[in-house]
Symmetry: C2
Subunit: 356 residues, 2 copies
């Protein structure tokens, strides 16, 4: 077994240790303020130079509190204010606003790091890809699992044949959204802002994208069921969702996601020879459980908290921007997730298997 787990190289993606990317951060929710700002300050290759929010006043206040040079409003951002002060933008707004900020960044020649899911609909995600390609600016979707050391190690193991021929995948992502934010009017429950729904868009995407990354196989057909029960979920179809995806090479993937469930994040790959399990999977502290033959081992990757996860994403992005390197989770990669999620919603609507 130890042959399989020796020689793991953290940051196998890193190609430069020189240079700095200055960021404008757009959308100042708790994630951006409490996680992204300190994460970038602790990163090797990034600095925050501009905060962009709904009003100049809020942006300036947060800039001062967080020791950031500029605080500007969304309107000022679109007008190109302070655009000499940053090289790239991080878009952390509600899904349906991603496109407009990316379009402006493309116009200004700025690299774009955009939260997942990349937009509210496939059509708007396509427009984002086009805008960034037309503007010739890098576009990355912030899939932080892809720079998680436990996940990258799992991918190496899959590639080297640890599980044999992949047979099935289980992914779960559930959280008690209303315990985290009791407001029934929050944007994650508003289809105008979140897009097709809430549980698959916001949570199921982790299972789907991490599996695509780990197995390097794309879904070819999906089926799904969605139900909503609680009054807070009356405008979205998927308080609970369960989906089955057939991947290339007939790998069977099944997944549940729910915004009203006990916290549970879990990913398991089962092959003809072994299994790789991440439990918990998607919220830091990912623990890797490996089984092959009669042997099972557990690898703890230690205190891999949200800040460290985000730091890795920003440094990966900065590494690529600084070296003009290829970005793996680029806009077209994110667009594939949007098409998968749209198909999952359509499959649930039509109660049939939908091909991709």
């Amino acid at each position: 077994m130890h042959d399989w787990i020796d020689g793991y190289d953290e940051r196998d993606w890193q190609t430069t240790e020189e240079g700095t990317v200055q960021y404008a951060l757009i959308g100042l929710g708790w994630w951006t303020v409490d996680v992204a700002i300190p994460a970038i300050e602790n990163s090797d290759l990034g600095e925050v130079s501009v905060l962009v929010s709904s009003s100049t006043e809020k942006a300036e206040r947060l800039a001062e509190e967080n020791d950031v040079e500029h605080g500007i409003s969304y309107d000022q951002y679109h007008e190109g204010e302070a655009s000499d002060a940053y090289d790239g933008v991080y878009i952390g707004t509600p899904n349906a606003y991603h496109l407009e900020y990316a379009e402006t960044a493309a116009d200004l020649g700025k690299a774009v790091l955009c939260e997942k899911p990349m937009e509210a609909t496939v059509e708007r995600a396509e427009r984002m890809v086009e805008a960034c390609e037309d503007g010739d600016v890098p576009l990355m979707i912030a899939y932080r699992m892809q720079t998680e050391p436990a996940v990258r190690r799992a991918r190496e193991l899959v590639e080297s044949g640890f599980i044999g021929e992949p047979v099935s995948v289980y992914g779960a992502n559930g959280q008690p959204l209303l315990e985290m934010n009791s407001d029934h009017d929050q944007w994650r429950l508003d289809p105008d802002l979140t897009g097709y729904g809430t549980s698959v868009m916001d949570l199921g995407i982790y299972s789907i994208n991490t599996t695509r990354y780990l197995l390097q196989r794309e879904p070819v057909a999906v089926s799904s069921r969605m139900t909503s029960h609680h009054e807070a979920f009356e405008d979205v179809p998927d308080e609970r969702a369960s989906s089955a995806l057939l991947l290339e090479d007939d790998v069977h993937m099944i997944t549940t996601s729910s915004q009203r469930a006990h916290e549970d994040t879990h990913l398991k790959l089962t092959g003809t020879e072994g299994t790789i399990e991440l439990d918990p999977a998607f919220h830091g502290e990912a623990t890797l459980q490996l089984s092959r033959g009669d042997v099972s081992v557990e690898i703890e990757h230690g205190e891999f908290d949200a800040q460290r996860e985000v730091r890795e994403v920003f440094d990966y992005f900065a590494d690529r921007v600084l070296t003009d390197g290829e970005i793996y989770p680029d806009g077209r990669h994110g667009l594939t997730d949007m098409r998968i999620i749209e198909a999952i919603h359509r499959a649930a609507d039509e109660e049939r298997s939908v091909e991709l």
Copy 2:
């Protein structure tokens, strides 16, 4: 948390400690010989008095080796040979032969304990139920998870609200069948003997039945995908199967099963307040992992091996036969599984959701 796990009562089902049920064991594969015979010998309420096999010679030889009074052939069994020597029969043959032995038992007035799945098709399972009802003999399907202490404890926890409102269920059952028996002509790969297929009939049934037992909710709709790849599986549709079941109260269940995968048995119930996980789930040594709020505990039920599992099934059955008590996993309970499995195969065939 400790309030939830105190007061667990092993054998909460037991109503008598008096009496003995004498068994005729039909179908002398390794399971019957290596597991069932010693398990019954260690049971409180059972004894083996007759072995029934393809030839008188084989049956007599095995009877002698195992210190059992009678060894008879299938033909002799159907003719009523040695019928004074037993009160009940255990049917452990390939699926498609269950009916004929149950019909004879019903004619002879003997109680029937039949392995799961109860037959090869719904129609034959219905005939078994009718035969036993007409003959007024007890019929139980040997779902050994239902007398597993860890599973019974999990059911108590569900009933008492430990997980809150049930949201989703994950069940997995995979094994490397060809490593256990390399013969491509074995009965589990022959649809004339196994029925609709192999992975769902033989393995998926554990996830399905244990979930029905734990949640006391029945599936109302199923969808499924099946693929076969390896040449040994050319006559069965489901070398790999993934299924999604919608249970009563909109509980979303997803499940994978495969006869050509690394061993993996797993059952997880997720609710609004907590999770209950059995990992491994279906092969003894079931380990119960409980989470609620921020607290997680693990309960090991110790060396609950196959023999002990089988002993519990036989003692439960004998308890019911001796007291004329109600059997929970009776013929109609097993028939529901057959209808679910048939619907899963139909859903895979027709690539659509099938209602039950």
